[in-house]
Structure formats: structure tokens, C-alpha cells
């Protein structure tokens, strides 16, 4: 049997539609748990296949675009794939089926309710992430950005108790306020200046925007893209940890936050243009703000004993890495930032998966209860160690490459202090991520139990897959190194 030729625009359409198809099948087969979840995962696998095909096509220099319809005069909803978007789609597409498998295990193991509603919104959120990744103009991106916020709200408030409703308020409040107050304003500002919102390699603002205003416009985007969790707009991330761990894992370690930093990077490259930023110095302030977030979040992470909270602040810190790379605006910094999207996704999702596995197997969420647990859950803790090493940036884990490139990029931009910032941050990562591993394996446990008690297999397989990916990414990193049109090397 031969498969029909998958043209690039079909790939785009597929990536957008498949999650929606999954959402529909979930609702239709809601009563039959196993059928419903199998269809979800199967659709996810097909999506991953599409995402890989698209990425390979784009990496080989190909083009892909799809225009849908005219939204308003001068605005079309269209999709134009470029290397960064293909990478983000790849990340979301490949991690989605893995995360769905894990979620099935978690939701059943932790006896959560309302599975159908959960998987429905999960799929819609992936659809929104795809829309963001593949968007061809800022308006399309903004629309899907908002869809992502609203489709993840039911996931954050899934448990329905007072705590999750309150957290949902913080989540929605920060994300919607920042996007409507600042991002929308910035977007319309670009529209007013450039007459158009299409993403153009090299940016659309050169020769059109007086350099004195550029930092202000950049600030509107940096703080308007609340999903990038730049301080002081970061509070939604720890608040969202009240959600079930699969939500934290996929959405807040991968899709939602990645959508945020992806948008920042995309705006920097295709709206402002790296040359424009370098020549006007409009992003230097952002380098410092990102550095502050980087360090401050790590300091807070050290103080947290709740594992998910610690991981949340670690995420905030790691996101700042990407924003930092974007702000440095040199070609290596930008490439490092893009690579970090991939590396961090693989590493962080492993860590969150492990946190969820520990909760399902032993009902512990505080680190103080996890002493010696590594001996009872060796696979989980070993994979946790691998994910942690990637985040710390230690070879042979993938995170080493992105951190290295960010340091080189900082030197390129003449910001040697940043190299020290990154090194200090790595040391802090070493502490707050290493501590759980060390104590898990070597500390005496409080309950003196030493029997093997791992998490269910449906959770272990994804954990091992993503941990393995973190290792493989070190060796195959060059496959994912992107070259951007319009960014001078």
C-alpha cells in the first residue's frame, strides 16, 4: 500500500487538524476509556510523523505554506513554515503522544476524574500550539495564542476545588491581561508602523521605526508575551502547578511556555530583525531583565521543597535563557536559544514525568519525603538524573549544546558578564536539581522500606523515552541546528 504524497501544505493542514480530530474522537468515544485513549495516542503518533516530515522538509531548504481565508481587509489567516516554527511543531508533535500515554497512566493511577474533558482540552491546546508554531503572520499567531490560553484554563482548574479555581484566576488573569494590554498594543503598533503583520526574514521595522521607540515596542512584546514567564509576570507558572502533573508536564514544560518563548524569538527574528536590534541596541535592557529572571528564579527554586514548585521555578529560569538568547540577538545566541527550546523541552518533561510518577507510586510531592526513594524507584530516579544533567548543561546530555551556544553568543555580543551569569545559574541548577537525585539514592529513607515500587509501565515508558531523547539529542544536535534567513552569521 502506498501512502498518498504528503505535500507540504497537507502537512500543515494535518498538523492543525489532527489534534482537532483527536479532540472529537475523544468526545465521541468518551464512554469507552481504552478506545478513547488509544485513538488519542494513535492520532498523536500520526501527528508526530507529520511533524517530523515537515521538519525534515524545512531543514532541507524546502518551503511550506497554507493560506486559509481573509479575516479582515489586509489580514489573512495563513501559515508559513520556517525553521523555528518547524522545530516548535516538532517538539509539540513528538512529545504529545508520549505525554498522552503518560497522562493515561497518571489519570488512572492517581484516580483523577473527568478524563474525557481532560483529553479533549489537551488536544485542543496542542492544536493551538501548532497554530502558533506554523503561523505566517502576527495576527494568526495572536489568535492561536489566545486560544491556547483559554483551552488550557479548564486543564489548570481541572480538579475543580477552591485552590485550583483560585490558581486558574491567577493563570487567566496574568496571561490575558498581559496579552490584551501589551501584546495586542505592540501588535497593532507594528501594524501601524509597517502596514502589515507578516513575518519577514530580517524584520519589518528597519527604516520604519525611530530607534528611540524600539525598546518600548520590544517591552510591549516581552511583557505582553506572558507565556514566556519573564519576571514580574511569572506568577502564573507556579500557580498552574496545582493542575494534574501531565498538564504541568506537557503544557507548562513544553507547549504553553514554549509557545511563549517561541513567540519572543519569532518576533525578534521576523518582526524586529536581529540586525536592527544589534544596530540600535534596543534589546540590551532585555538582556539584563532576562538575566535577572534567570538568577532570581533559580534562587527561589533552591528554597522550594515541593518538587513541582521547584521544577516550576526552574522552568522560569530556563525560559529566561531563551529570552536572553533572543535579546543578545547575535546569530549564535539566537541559534542557541532555538536549540534550547528543544533541549529544555526534552529534559523538563522528563523531570515532570518523574515528579508525577513519584506522586502516583508513593503519594509524595515534597522533597523531604523522598529520601532514599531512589532505591525503590531506580528507573525513575535515574531518568530524573539524566533530565537534570541536561538542564544543568552537562555533556553528554543535549542541554550542554544550547548552553554552550548561548555563552558563545554572549561573547559575540560583547556581553562577557552574561557568561558568568550562565555559569552561576548552572551551579545553582546543579544544587537544586542534584539534591533530589543524591538524596534519593543515597540518603537513608524515613520509613525504612526498601522494596522496589516503581510507577506503572504506562508512565515509565514515556519517562524512559524522553530521558533517552535528552541523551540522543547531544549526539544528534546538529540535525536541529537551525539557520535563519535574514540573520547574518
Amino acid at each position: 500500500m502506498t501512502l498518498p504524497a504528503l505535500t507540504p501544505d497537507l502537512l500543515i493542514a494535518g498538523l492543525l487538524l489532527l489534534p482537532l480530530i483527536a479532540a472529537s474522537t475523544t468526545v465521541l468515544t468518551g464512554k469507552w476509556d481504552n478506545l478513547r485513549d488509544t485513538l488519542s495516542i494513535a492520532t498523536g503518533v500520526i501527528t508526530a510523523f507529520f511533524a517530523i516530515s515537515l521538519f525534515r522538509h524545512i531543514s532541507a531548504g524546502g518551503e511550506a505554506s497554507l493560506s486559509l481565508f481573509t479575516f479582515a481587509p489586509g489580514f489573512t489567516i495563513d501559515f508559513v513554515v520556517e525553521p523555528l516554527g518547524a522545530l516548535f511543531a516538532l517538539v509539540a508533535g513528538c512529545l504529545w503522544p508520549v505525554a498522552t500515554l503518560y497522562s493515561v497512566g497518571y489519570m488512572r493511577g492517581a484516580h483523577e476524574k473527568n478524563h474525557t474533558r481532560f483529553f479533549f482540552y489537551y488536544a485542543v491546546a496542542i492544536h493551538a500550539a501548532m497554530g502558533i508554531a506554523l503561523s505566517g503572520n502576527l495576527l494568526t499567531l495572536f489568535i492561536f495564542y489566545e486560544i491556547l490560553t483559554f483551552s488550557t484554563y479548564p486543564l489548570v482548574t481541572h480538579k475543580g476545588n477552591a485552590e485550583s479555581v483560585a490558581s486558574g484566576r491567577v493563570y487567566l488573569g496574568i496571561l490575558v491581561s498581559s496579552s490584551v494590554a501589551f501584546l495586542l498594543l505592540g501588535m497593532i503598533g507594528v501594524w501601524s508602523i509597517a502596514g502589515d503583520l507578516t513575518f519577514v526574514p530580517g524584520g519589518v521595522l528597519a527604516d520604519r521605526l525611530d530607534p528611540t521607540y524600539a525598546p518600548i515596542l520590544l517591552a510591549l512584546f516581552a511583557f505582553g508575551i506572558g507565556k514566556a514567564a519573564l519576571m514580574p509576570l511569572h506568577r502564573w507558572l507556579p500557580a498552574a502547578m496545582v493542575a494534574p502533573t501531565p498538564v504541568s508536564a506537557l503544557l507548562h514544560a513544553v507547549a504553553v511556555v514554549k509557545a511563549g518563548v517561541f513567540t519572543v524569538l519569532k518576533v525578534v527574528i521576523y518582526i524586529f530583525g536581529t540586525d536592527y536590534l544589534l544596530s540600535t541596541g534596543a534589546s540590551v535592557w532585555l538582556v539584563w531583565v532576562a538575566s535577572f529572571t534567570l538568577l532570581a528564579a533559580s534562587v527561589v527554586a533552591i528554597q522550594k521543597t515541593n518538587l513541582k514548585a521547584r521544577l516550576a521555578y526552574s522552568t522560569i529560569s530556563q525560559l529566561a535563557y531563551v529570552v536572553l538568547g533572543a535579546a543578545l540577538a547575535t546569530s549564535i545566541a539566537v541559534q542557541g536559544a532555538a536549540l534550547h527550546i528543544l533541549m529544555h523541552a526534552a529534559g523538563k518533561i522528563t523531570l515532570f514525568f518523574c515528579a508525577g510518577a513519584i506522586y502516583v507510586a508513593h503519594h509524595h510531592s515534597d522533597l523531604r519525603d523522598m529520601d532514599g526513594l531512589g532505591r525503590r524507584m531506580p528507573v525513575t530516579f535515574f531518568c530524573f538524573a539524566l533530565g537534570a544533567l541536561s538542564i544543568m548543561g552537562i555533556p553528554p546530555l543535549g542541554g550542554a549544546w544550547s548552553k554552550f551556544m548561548l555563552m558563545i553568543g554572549a561573547l559575540d555580543a560583547g556581553q562577557t558578564v552574561i557568561v558568568f551569569v550562565l555559569m552561576i545559574s548552572s551551579l545553582m541548577n546543579l544544587y537544586y536539581l542534584g539534591q533530589p537525585v543524591i538524596r534519593g539514592f543515597f540518603a537513608p529513607s524515613s520509613d525504612k522500606e526498601e522494596t522496589l515500587a516503581e510507577a506503572p509501565l504506562t508512565m515509565l515508558i514515556p519517562i524512559m523515552l524522553t530521558a533517552l531523547a535528552s541523551v540522543l539529542l547531544f549526539f544528534y544536535a546538529d540535525l536541529f541546528l537551525l539557520t535563519f534567513e535574514g540573520v547574518a552569521p
Partner: protein
């Protein structure tokens, strides 16, 4: 028949009013009302399509007396856009409002209710269609007087409707009288009452105290009618204590018509270059911003949902005022876009509230706790209406915001743009309070159990679908709005 469409769309509801009284039968009254509004809608839609296709205004001379001797109706791109909106919403509310009216208005008063209903609709359509300044006043008063009576009909449910209606009467009459003083001064100056004629004569002889005074009186009178801050205090009590169907109709149409009249007089008669227009623009801009904040902040503290959305209307009218105050074609287009979109959004919201009111009586945060599960479609309509108010993409509210802020940034009014987005973010607070109450809370055991019927949500959903349609396929509306703006501004841009 079609050649007389401009006048028929007004005459039919106007004649339906006494007909309903003569028929004396409740069911027939409703049928006649539905039929009359349906015909009005068909005629006005037909006129819109005709004007959109040819780009030429349709001129209808009443009694075959030509202007400026006779009164003429001119259907151009501007009012061709507004009339089907008013007629369409009137039709939908009449169609689905029957249940609400039966629940809230005493059965013996139904024929009189529908009669006043027809009069207010006829009055609104008349204000929009006519090209004679005094004719506007006549229809304004027809519409307003019947509106005062309709608001007072809410006394069956809540006696506060009576002082609310009285207050509305006093302030409304003052506004209309100011308007008529202004028209008198214009007549004194130019000798004509025909809008086209006034526009032609004013540039040469307008630069006098009389002209300036006329502008001031007309502007002030109409500011009161559009509930511009700080002349907005009549609106909240009137909309909250009126019967639900009346609130739905008026929230969606009455103030929009007054916005149209203000645009027609300010831009179509006086024009951008008239001395004093700059001051009027500044007032509109800053009072609009003040209204946007006053309305939104007041809404945040409200627990009665009808009052809440009435306060929200003040904020939305503030946005329309800002659009007018920009004194540009882009700003005016943004006002027209928001005029249409707000009518759809608010209509949907008030119809949904009316649907809930049929069962819970007074719609408050506590009376709708947990209602999301018992009346899912009705509350979903409320949710979408709320999302549209915030300006979430894929709803019409987003389009309004897009063009309004663009028009502000084009004029480098950065502070105003920032204030506009901040007030729209604040709207999230009150919309989400309602969503949480409806979906996240449990329904108390002693609360009324609602069995959802289509009557509760059909009308609201028609308007919600329209809101989403114009949020996704905005091209036709945006083009029509820009055409309307350019028609109004004419040569002086």
C-alpha cells in the same frame, strides 16, 4: 413596492402600533409585532444590499416634495449599515422575547406593551433613515416616549422601574430639548432643516456665535442620549429595572441609534473643519475614556447582572465616543464597527440574561450559582458574549478593538491607546466573576431548578453566531464601516 422601501420600513411598525391596540388580543399582538419587524428587517436589508452594490445613496421624497422644501429620506452607506442592524435585532428580540414578556409583564398589559414596542422600534428606524434634522427630533421623541413607558412596565417585577423611568424621562427630554434648541439655531442661521442642505450652507456662514452655540447644544443634547460620562446616570437604572425583553432591545439598539445621530450631525452637518469641532472631539475622547473606566469599574463591583451589563454598556459607549473623538476616517470607521458589534454582543448577553430571569427572577451572582450545568446553552451564550466584550480573538469584539486601537495609534495617541487596552483588560474581571459563579460553584440545594427550554437561548445564540461570524469574517463589516465613515466625512477629511 420596493421603491417605497425607505418609508415602508418605518411605516409598517408605526401602523402596527394602533393595529395591535385595536386587535386587543395578546397572541395576535405578538404575531403582528413579529410580522412588522420581519418586514422592516427585509426592507432594510434589501436597501443595504442595494446601496452596497451601487455605492449610490437612495433618495426618497416624501409626498414627492423635493428637498429642501419637502422632507426626504436618504439611505447612504452610513445608515444603510445601521438600519438592518436595528431592524434585525428588533425582529429577533420580538420573536424570542415572548416568554420573557409573559414572565414579567402583567397579561392585561400585553397589547399595550407591544404597541409601545412597535412605536419605539419605528422611532428608532425613523431617526436613522431620515435626512431632515427636525424629523430626527420627532422620531427621537416617538422612540423615547414609548421607551419611557416600556421601562416603567418593569414595575410589575420591581417597583424601582418607576423612578427609573421618570428619571429617564426627565433627562431624556432635556437632551432632546437641547437638540431642538440647536436645530432652531441652525435654522435661524441657514433657513433650512435638510441635512444635505445644512452641510452645504454651513461652511460659509457657520463661523458665528450662533453656529457655535448650535454645535454646543446639539452635541450636549446627544451626549446625554448616548450616555456619555458624566451624563450617563439614567442608563443603569433604566436598563436594570426594565423588563428583560426591553433591556435586551434597548441595550442593543437605542443608544446605537443616538450614536448614529450624533455622527450624522457632527460629521455630516457640521463637518471636521467647523469651528468648535476640535473641542467637541477632545471632549468625546476624554469623556469616552472616563466612561470606559467608570463603567468597567462600576461593573466590577456589581452583583446584579443586569446592572453589571448596563454599566458595561456605558464603557462600550465610551469606546464609541473615543472613536468619534479621533476625528478621523479610521476612528469613525472603528466607531461604526463597534456600533454593530456591540449591538450583537449586548443583545446576546441581555437575551441570555432574560432567559435566566424567566426562572430565577432577579439575576444575581448568587442566584446563578452553578447554573452552568442546568442551563448549559444559555450560560454558554453568556460566556461567548462576555468573551466578545473582553475582545478575545475570533469574536467581533476583537475586531472592534483592533481597529479602534489602530486608529488611535495612527494619530500617535499612545496614552489613550494604553488606557483603552487597560479598561478592556478590566472587563475580564467582571466577566470571569460571572463565569466562575455559573460554572465553578455548586448550585445550592434550595435554589430554583432550571429546566432549559429553547426559548431561553435561541435568540441569544443567533446573536452569538453573528458575533462569531463577524469575528472571523470581518471583511464585509470592516469594508462597510469604512465606506460609511467616508460617506459621512465627505470631502473634508
Amino acid at each position: 413596492m420596493l421603491a417605497h422601501a425607505p418609508i415602508l420600513q418605518i411605516i409598517i411598525p408605526l401602523l402596527a402600533a394602533p393595529l395591535i391596540v385595536l386587535l386587543r388580543q395578546r397572541d395576535l399582538a405578538w404575531i403582528v409585532a413579529v410580522a412588522a419587524t420581519a418586514l422592516s428587517f427585509l426592507f432594510s436589508a434589501r436597501l443595504f444590499l442595494q446601496v452596497a452594490a451601487t455605492g449610490e445613496p437612495i433618495i426618497y421624497e416624501i409626498g414627492a416634495w423635493p428637498a429642501p422644501i419637502g422632507i426626504i429620506y436618504v439611505i447612504d452607506s452610513a445608515n444603510a449599515l445601521v438600519m438592518p442592524l436595528i431592524a434585525g435585532i428588533a425582529f429577533i428580540v420580538t420573536l424570542v422575547g415572548r416568554g420573557m414578556i409573559e414572565a414579567e409583564v402583567d397579561a392585561r398589559d400585553h397589547t399595550l406593551f407591544f404597541s409601545a414596542w412597535m412605536l419605539t422600534i419605528a422611532g428608532m428606524l425613523g431617526q436613522v433613515a431620515t435626512n431632515d434634522a427636525f424629523n430626527i427630533f420627532v422620531f427621537l421623541e416617538i422612540s423615547s416616549l414609548s421607551a419611557y413607558a416600556l421601562v416603567a412596565m418593569g414595575a410589575g417585577r420591581d417597583a424601582r422601574a418607576l423612578p427609573a423611568a421618570f428619571n429617564y424621562l426627565i433627562l431624556g427630554t432635556i437632551g432632546a430639548t437641547f437638540y431642538v434648541i440647536g436645530i432652531g439655531l441652525l435654522y435661524m442661521l441657514t433657513g433650512t432643516l435638510n441635512i444635505g442642505d445644512l452641510a452645504a450652507r454651513l461652511p460659509e456662514i457657520g463661523d458665528t456665535h450662533t453656529g457655535f452655540a448650535a454645535l454646543a447644544f446639539i452635541a450636549l443634547g446627544l451626549f446625554l442620549k448616548i450616555a456619555l460620562f458624566p451624563l450617563h446616570f439614567w442608563l443603569t437604572p433604566a436598563y436594570s429595572f426594565a423588563p428583560s425583553a426591553v433591556s435586551a432591545l434597548m441595550a442593543a439598539t437605542a443608544t446605537k441609534v443616538s450614536v448614529y445621530v450624533l455622527i450624522r450631525l457632527l460629521f455630516g452637518v457640521f463637518g471636521l473643519n467647523f469651528p468648535g469641532m476640535d473641542e467637541v472631539g477632545t471632549l468625546l475622547l476624554w469623556l469616552g475614556v472616563a466612561g470606559a473606566f467608570a463603567g468597567t469599574l462600576a461593573a466590577i463591583w456589581e452583583t446584579d447582572l443586569k446592572r453589571l451589563f448596563a454599566q458595561s454598556s456605558i464603557a462600550q459607549l465610551g469606546y464609541m465616543a473615543i472613536g468619534m473623538g479621533l476625528m478621523s476616517s479610521a476612528g469613525l470607521a472603528a466607531t461604526f464597527i463597534h456600533l454593530v458589534n456591540h449591538a450583537l454582543m449586548k443583545g446576546a448577553i441581555f437575551l441570555a440574561l432574560g432567559g435566566l430571569a424567566m426562572h430565577v427572577g432577579r439575576v444575581t451572582m448568587s442566584s446563578i450559582a452553578g447554573v452552568g450545568r442546568q442551563a448549559p446553552l444559555t450560560v454558554a451564550a453568556l460566556l461567548f458574549g462576555g468573551l466578545a466584550l473582553i475582545g478575545v480573538p475570533l469574536t467581533a469584539g476583537f475586531i472592534s478593538k483592533l481597529y479602534l486601537i489602530r486608529a488611535q495609534l495612527d494619530q500617535q495617541l499612545y496614552v489613550i491607546a494604553l488606557l483603552t487596552v487597560i479598561s478592556s483588560v478590566l472587563a475580564l474581571v467582571y466577566v470571569w466573576k460571572i463565569i466562575e459563579a455559573a460554572y465553578m460553584q455548586d448550585r445550592p440545594k434550595d435554589a430554583v431548578v432550571i429546566r432549559e427550554t429553547p426559548a431561553m437561548w435561541v435568540g441569544a445564540w443567533i446573536l452569538v453566531i453573528a458575533t462569531i461570524y463577524f469575528g472571523v469574517q470581518a471583511e464585509s463589516l470592516v469594508d462597510a464601516a469604512f465606506r460609511a465613515a467616508e460617506t459621512m466625512l465627505g470631502d473634508a477629511q
